[in-house]
Amino acid sequence: MHTKNHLYCMVTKYSWLRLVFIFFSGIVLLFVLAPLLRLLLAPGLSGLIEAALDQQVSQSIFRTLGIAMSTTLVAGFITVPFAWLMARSRFRFKSVINAIIDLPVMIPHSAAGIALLGIINRESVIGQWASSLGISFIDQPAGIAIAMAFVSLPFLYNASRDAFEAQSGVYEKAALNLGASQWQTFYLISLPMAAKGILSGYVMMFGRAMSEFGAIVIIAYHPMVTPVMIFDRFNAFGLKSAQGIAALFVLISLIVFISLRLLAKRQSDARN
């Protein structure tokens, strides 16, 4: 395998194709990196510190991370079993259901927010039922969580389903055959075997949830999550003022994202 790859590189090392493709790759990388680097460098260290010391900003960052984390955990708890069920089932409208789950990724997030608002507003059945239990969604953390879950859930669902589908059902048969109950089979075999894919799904979902703006801004402008606060500062005070908080949030996102990725990788490496 190694020799083959090596050979492949030798053949294409100096070809035009390779040069052209390297050029394209550079453009793509630069396209992604340049604005982010500019953003991180623009406010300078002092700008970052200033943003970090702003109590409204730090509160909003903690709020964003906290709600995104709880949303990911709670939604994940019910999404992963659903993904398993879909991976193991064969029925006619399976692809339709899979497409439905993907919808939130496809539609504009502001439209997603409007759609959600339609069923959780105070006059709606769900809104009234929730308010009788003392729960309100509009301009509340619960509303933010719902918006986050709605747009980020497909990432976890797809990653988990792929992981379960990649795993042959024969392992589950083997576990049942050895006397494990269906529950034991799920949490001792299916879940740990799909852990790598599920963990990366969790990281994707969390990343998507904490960066959500469009759906949240419609349901809960306040209390402000950081993406909304960046927009708010930009509107009220202009680019410079928004840059500091945006840079800080991107930096924190990067740190969280990289650590979670490393953690997921280490967990799966430990297994293999």
Partner: protein, 351 residues
């Protein structure tokens, strides 16, 4: 101990039809059939991975037809090793005990005992991905036995192994059986069936067409299909001697001395003589054949391509002859003939 009554299952266009069989405690049964004959499906029905449409499965006097798979006590060893990749070898072996909430102390004792029996002691802490094919199958067996099953089901367990490893695993399976484990083994390999089986079953297109001891089944195939599947009809308990003559090994079948080529150590086993390579003549043949026997025709049967004749020549050999030759030689029951074959037509293997 295993009793299957009128088992019926339709799966897509395939149909397993009215299978009846009964296996005694301590038996070693081999189900022989080509792929697609339904033998693996039968195992799945016994395990409870599939539910039968009709019929009953009784194990140890209990009707398990409706029982959940995890309660059936029939452990399956799959064709390819299905070891849990996220667990170590020892955790794999311990799995059945762990889910049954057996104490850690007991589990450790049992895992060590099984590891010793299957020569896995050095491998207990390994990841399963680091095992060779033979090691993995031994772990599969140890893990299956840790569940203390009433019946061990083997789905072509040797087919993914190379020749040397097959030999080792066959030995292990025989030992297990000798110690009392009842085994139902599925294969498409005639030789494997011959080596292992105390009882043999032949499956074709979802039907169990024959069931009995290997001699009955192979000598009297119930259909042309069974005859073809069983391949060779001339097989005998034999003893390979260490003596040689002109570089050829002597092999005794009953009181008949034959010659073969073999690098195996002297000992008991089976000798298979390919009926298609037997030459029949009225007088002593002058040919390169090293094995020449004299005897008389015991039975004659018409086949689509000529005649199948059974010759008593110290051993009973089955040979084929075309209609033309049959008439030219003027053969009848009782005719004295010579039967000769080259050493390559006689194959010895240990059992």
């Amino acid at each position: 101990m295993l009793e299957i009554k009128g088992l019926h299952k339709k799966l897509g266009s395939f149909e397993l039809q009215a299978v009846d069989l009964s296996i005694k405690q301590g038996d070693y049964c081999v189900l022989l059939g080509p792929s697609g004959s339904g033998k693996s499906l039968l195992l799945e029905l016994i395990c409870g991975f599939q539910q039968a449409d009709q019929g009953e499965i009784w194990l140890d006097g209990k009707n398990i037809s409706q029982l959940a798979a995890q309660k059936r006590r029939a452990s399956m060893v799959f064709q390819k090793p299905v070891l849990f990749p996220h667990l170590s070898v020892s955790a794999n072996i311990a799995f059945a005990m762990r889910v049954n909430k057996i104490s850690t102390k007991k589990i450790n004792i049992q895992v060590n005992a099984l590891a010793q029996q299957f020569q896995l002691t050095q491998l207990l802490n390994r990841k399963t991905g680091q095992l060779s094919g033979g090691e993995a199958q031994r772990v599969m067996l140890a893990r299956a036995l840790a569940a203390e099953p009433s019946l061990l089901l083997l789905d072509e367990p040797l087919s993914s192994l190379d020749v040397l490893l097959r030999h080792d695993l066959r030995k292990l399976l025989k030992e297990l059986n000798q110690r009392g484990t009842t085994i139902l083994h599925v294969t498409h390999d005639y030789e494997e069936a011959l080596r292992m089986a105390k009882t043999i079953g032949i499956m074709q297109l979802g039907k169990l067409i024959q069931w009995g001891n290997p001699h009955e089944v192979f000598r009297n195939p119930a259909s042309a299909f069974a005859a073809e599947l069983s391949g060779l009809k001339n097989f005998f308990d034999a003893e390979l001697l260490s003596e040689t003559k002109n570089g050829l090994r002597k092999v005794m079948v009953k009181n008949v001395l034959l010659f073969t080529q073999s690098k195996l150590d002297a000992g008991f086993g089976k000798l298979v003589i390919d009926e298609k390579q037997l030459i029949i003549s009225k007088s002593l043949p002058q040919s390169s054949a090293q094995n020449i026997l004299h005897g008389s025709i015991k039975q004659i049967q018409k086949t689509p391509y000529g005649f199948e004749i059974e010759v008593a020549c110290g051993i009973d050999l089955i040979a084929y002859i075309t209609e033309v030759s049959f008439e030219k030689m003027n053969l009848a029951i009782g005719s004295e003939i010579f039967i000769s074959f080259k050493i390559a037509a006689a194959r010895f293997f240990t059992t």
